[in-house]
Symmetry: C2
Subunit: 266 residues, 2 copies
């Protein structure tokens, strides 16, 4: 039997940060990445629409023989993961629980800040996941709708980006959080700016790394890890080849992307 | 025969600035507004996809008995208007030619700046329209991908917005343009900031008002203006009811929006 791939999907290309973490932790696994670039961003869409899109994509990935689907999009994890779990039997992982788990293991003061898209923040999914782990944890949350376009524009540093980050984070800094969850796959690219703004006392947690480790652990438990010892492949599917695609993809993956196909859903 | 409506469509809600201008100029006309909010933004999508979406929407509007379709989205005007004209017989108006005409009538130095989304700027549609009017006109162009999210976030003033505008407009200001075309329906809301940044010597042109006048003139020539003397109605269709819909809609229309239906295309 040929090596079945792990599938990762996101609304756009931000989920490539999860692919990068998977390749580091599970270099023999083959990966399929699906970026719904025709319909990005999900962060300001309704729950019904996000569920519909996520379902279509999961069906596509199952057709591609995926052995596990990782919902790398925080918005889709927050608003559609349970919906998907009810509909599909394939192992499904979101990024919210791994992110919450990572933050819980880091926090000392038990006061955690959460940033994400409008839809993710409104869903309160991170608060619920954290309270499930420890009901004495306090949270301060803030939607940061300008961070995604800043990353896509490539303004990863500089005065404007710092000022926007200061505006978004002022309240949680004065609330004395000691841990900050980056609840969006675009945000890891802003870590240098965010570190400047929050200072050394606040630890920044991104879910890409923890999610990859969750995936590895679960695949092992299910005895689904590949036995093949050669390097795995990466295939990419997008719903539209957008303007500046390669430049943005390179930013997330840390190297050139190839094997890209454009597919049309529904 | 009942009053047939003028249809206006945009990728999102920015085209409501054109609706506002139509209501001012043609208060007896009924209007249908279509905002493709499930698939907004168009500005970083491929031409093929923008043409496909525009075609679906135009079919929907023709089914609704529209007597004219105004493509209020600059990106769709730039990339899909000719495609639509080949496929449909209904009178079709974009915003590029009216915007170019307005700028030509204002400029003294014949050096015009153009700002818009990535896709609009890449299409060079404004340059072509201006050169068609006067081939001695010079242009300086700049894509401003952060302006749409700034408007949707409601950051219509303040230091950050000014700095972003300064970054985007620096080159055209030093190039001595005397006229600036706002090549995106979101941008009129930034006029106060843009005026601060460009100073008094540069005239700002937005196409909403000129487009409404074009529509009035053409309807009159075709003898399609309504004979009804009562106030026209406004019906709104969106493809998704997004988070913060009413607040954003109010910002563009200048008052509360009602009669909104959600429709599912394709």
């Amino acid at each position: 039997m040929s090596r079945r791939p792990i599938a990762v999907f996101d609304s756009g290309l931000g989920g490539l940060t999860v692919v990068k973490a998977l390749q580091k932790n599970l270099s023999n696994e083959s990966i399929i990445y699906f970026g719904d670039t025709a319909r990005v961003p999900y962060g300001n869409k309704s729950q019904a629409l996000i569920q519909e899109y996520s379902e279509e994509i999961t069906e596509f990935l199952i057709d591609k023989q995926a052995k596990m689907v990782i919902v790398a999009c925080n918005t889709a994890s927050a608003l559609a993961l349970n919906h998907l779990k009810q509909r599909f039997e394939i192992p499904l992982i979101g990024v919210i629980e791994p992110g919450a788990e990572a933050a819980r293991s880091v926090t000392q003061s038990k006061h955690i800040g959460i940033i994400g898209t409008l839809a993710t923040i409104r869903s309160e999914a991170y608060e619920r996941a954290l309270l499930n782990l420890d009901n004495t944890i306090l949270t301060t949350v803030r939607a940061c709708p300008l961070f995604v376009p800043l990353v896509e524009e490539g303004w990863l540093e500089g005065e404007v980006t710092i000022q926007i980050a200061e505006t978004y984070l002022a309240e949680m800094i004065s609330d004395n959080i000691d841990t900050l969850i980056l609840g969006c796959t675009h945000y890891p690219l802003l870590i240098p700016v965010l570190e400047k703004v929050v200072g050394e006392k606040i630890r920044i947690v991104d879910s890409a790394e923890t999610t990859a480790k969750y995936a590895a652990k679960w695949l092992q438990e299910l005895d689904l890890l590949t036995k093949d010892s050669s390097h795995g492949s990466l295939e990419n599917y997008v719903t539209d080849l957008p303007v500046r695609f390669r430049r943005v993809a390179r930013r997330f993956l840390g190297r050139e992307i190839d094997h890209v196909s454009t597919v049309h859903l529904s």
